[in-house]
């Protein structure tokens, strides 16, 4: 569904994303993990059209979408959420979701009805209150709901679980799985490994802008290169020694 070919983004001398290639199969939940500063969010901004890549191509359902604007990509069926939630603070929860729903439903009554249905899917209630009054968990659900309301075929989730407590994470994991089961392909950046392990079929690991590993969550977690990227040079070897002695 989504193919990224040799994508590179330079900011001056800094190469934030370097020659990254990956694919997201249709109907999958694919994870993108890596330590802070690895370039995950930059990769998202390139795929979602908020920045143009320095080199490389992005294909969506076989169509070259490199450099297209976010609004055109939303029409094509690519939606994203933001790591730092961006609610329309002055609007109610329902109106927030309706902004997304208007993309496919030009009439107010239809858009509002669709927004209400989407809210139910992600477990949002009390839709008349201002979005600014939502808790962190509520805002994350709102991000998800707004993105879903645009009727996407692919959603890019940027750390929707960050900042949530364990019980909130447990509540939202089935919601994400249900979205996929309804036919929406998901590419998610996530730090919460419990969620990655239980949700993702396939995981790509970024470090210093490069793709260093890919595979099932279990394979990736056992990969020495991944352990070193998170814990430092030589960490994998020391861990193994420690395990042998223990």
């Amino acid at each position: 569904m989504l193919e990224v070919h040799s994508l590179t983004k330079r900011f001056g001398g800094l190469v934030a994303v370097s020659d990254v290639s990956l694919t997201v199969p249709e109907g999958s939940i694919t994870g993108l993990i890596g330590p802070n500063g690895a370039g995950k969010t930059t990769l998202f901004t390139l795929v979602s059209g908020f920045q143009t890549p320095s080199a490389g191509r992005v294909l969506f359902c076989g169509e070259d979408i490199t450099g297209r604007t976010p609004e055109r990509l939303a029409v094509l069926g690519i939606a994203r959420t933001f790591q730092i939630v961006q609610p329309f603070a002055g609007l109610s929860v329902l109106e927030n979701i309706a902004v997304g729903a208007y993309l496919r439903f030009p009439h107010r009554a239809d858009a509002m009805a669709h927004a209400g249905a989407v809210a139910e899917r992600v477990g949002l209630t009390d839709l008349g209150r201002p979005a600014a009054s939502l808790t962190v968990a509520g805002r994350k659900r709102l991000e998800l709901a707004r993105a879903l309301a645009t009727g996407p075929r692919l959603v890019l989730l940027d750390e929707v679980l960050a900042g949530l407590n364990p019980s909130e994470i447990r509540d939202i994991i089935p919601v994400i799985r249900a979205i996929r089961d309804a036919g929406v392909t998901i590419l998610m950046i996530e730090h919460v490994m419990q969620a990655v392990m239980s949700l993702c079929e396939h995981v790509h690991v970024l470090a210093n802008g490069r793709l260093i590993a890919a595979g099932t969550p279990a394979e990736v977690v056992g990969n020495p290169a991944v352990v070193e990227a998170y814990l430092g040079h030589g960490a994998a070897g020391r861990l193994q020694k420690g395990a042998a002695h223990g």
Partner: protein
């Protein structure tokens, strides 16, 4: 029309009916000594309605869309000059000139919007650019022959319906009220439309709006064009009422200030904000002038501006959502 739809428009219809009934109270107001005569009342009301219309225009781009213009004089002046010049130099009928004035105002809005928004100007940068455009127009209008230069353009007094000049002062009051009423209804329609929802989304967070498929440039351009067209009608009505324009009236900073102050004081991004703000600002300004005059025996020029300043400070400090916000908070309890 469903009952829910009607409920959304009911307060507007009530307000329009109340304003339309206002002339009935004129004899009472005059005998109570509030106005020197019926003409004084109508002149004040017509001026308030013209400012309301200009402010309603500003409120579309500034209030709903968050694009704060400091230069709505560019649109007001274009409407005012078009209305005057088309009649005096090209012999166009006043009623035919009005839609042309409106369209020209909208065109100026579209061009300024295209230049500013394509350059991704936001916030204070956008405000400064619009201010600069209005000043350029003022200086050009002061220097070019077609506008009458520094002498301005005088529209000949020819009373008659065909000339949009009326003997009865109430007639022009109803004309201006008609335009304000249409824009009140139009604003509610806007609030309940896809375009309105996208416009507010642009105001709240442009990146989030883009991620949801909102073409922010197009939305902002439509908004500034509509905004400018409405304010241009206010300018055209000003010409018809006072039958004279010069560069400092048409493109002067005073109207840019009135157009943005009224919605801010009344309630920004609301249907009634511009109307309430214009009534409060101009009403209090006039009251202050009258009080000072009777207290000191002579007029103190600029006292209305002092009142504007005080009112603005009070509103920003105590009612950041405008007078309408105060009313709602009071009514909610």
């Amino acid at each position: 029309m469903s009952s829910g739809t009607f409920a959304a428009y009911r307060p507007i219809l009530i307000a329009i009916a109340a304003l339309a009934a206002l002339p009935l109270a004129v004899p009472m107001l005059v005998s109570a000594g509030l106005f020197a005569g019926a003409n004084t009342f109508y002149n004040l009301m017509i001026f308030i309605l013209i400012i309301t219309l200009a402010a309603q225009g500003w409120n579309i781009a500034g209030g709903y869309g968050g694009q704060f213009s400091f230069g709505h004089a560019a649109f007001f002046g274009t409407g005012a000059y078009a209305q005057a010049v088309l009649q005096t130099r090209y012999g166009v009928n006043a009623w035919a000139a009005l839609p042309v004035a409106m369209a020209l105002g909208g065109l100026v809005g579209a061009v300024i919007g295209l230049l500013a928004f394509r350059a991704r100007l936001r916030g204070s940068y956008f405000a400064l650019v619009t201010l600069a455009f209005a000043e350029v127009f003022r200086i050009l209008a002061n220097a070019t022959p077609i506008t009458g230069g520094a002498a301005g353009t005088l529209v000949p007094l020819r009373i008659g319906f065909g000339q949009m000049q009326f003997e009865a002062p109430a007639a022009f009051f109803y004309l201006a009220l008609g335009f304000v009423a249409v824009v009140l209804l139009l604003n509610r329609l806007l609030e309940r439309s896809r375009f309105g929802a996208w416009l507010v989304a642009v105001r709240e967070n442009e990146d989030a709006a883009r991620a949801l498929g909102v073409d922010t440039l197009t939305v902002k351009l439509k908004a500034i064009t509509l905004s400018a067209a409405v304010t241009a009608v206010a300018g055209a009505l000003y010409t018809q009422k006072f039958l004279y324009v010069d560069a400092n009236i048409a493109y002067g900073a005073w109207i840019s200030v009135e157009a943005l102050l009224a919605p801010i004081v009344g309630g920004i991004g609301t249907v009634f904000g511009p109307l309430i703000g214009a009534v409060a600002l101009i009403g209090l300004g006039e009251a202050a002038k009258t009080l000072i005059h009777s207290a000191f025996g002579s007029a103190v020029p600029g006292v209305d501006l002092v009142v504007y300043g005080l009112l603005l400070i009070v509103v920003i400090a105590f009612a950041p959502r405008g007078l309408i916000g105060l009313l709602r908070a009071g009514g909610g309890r």
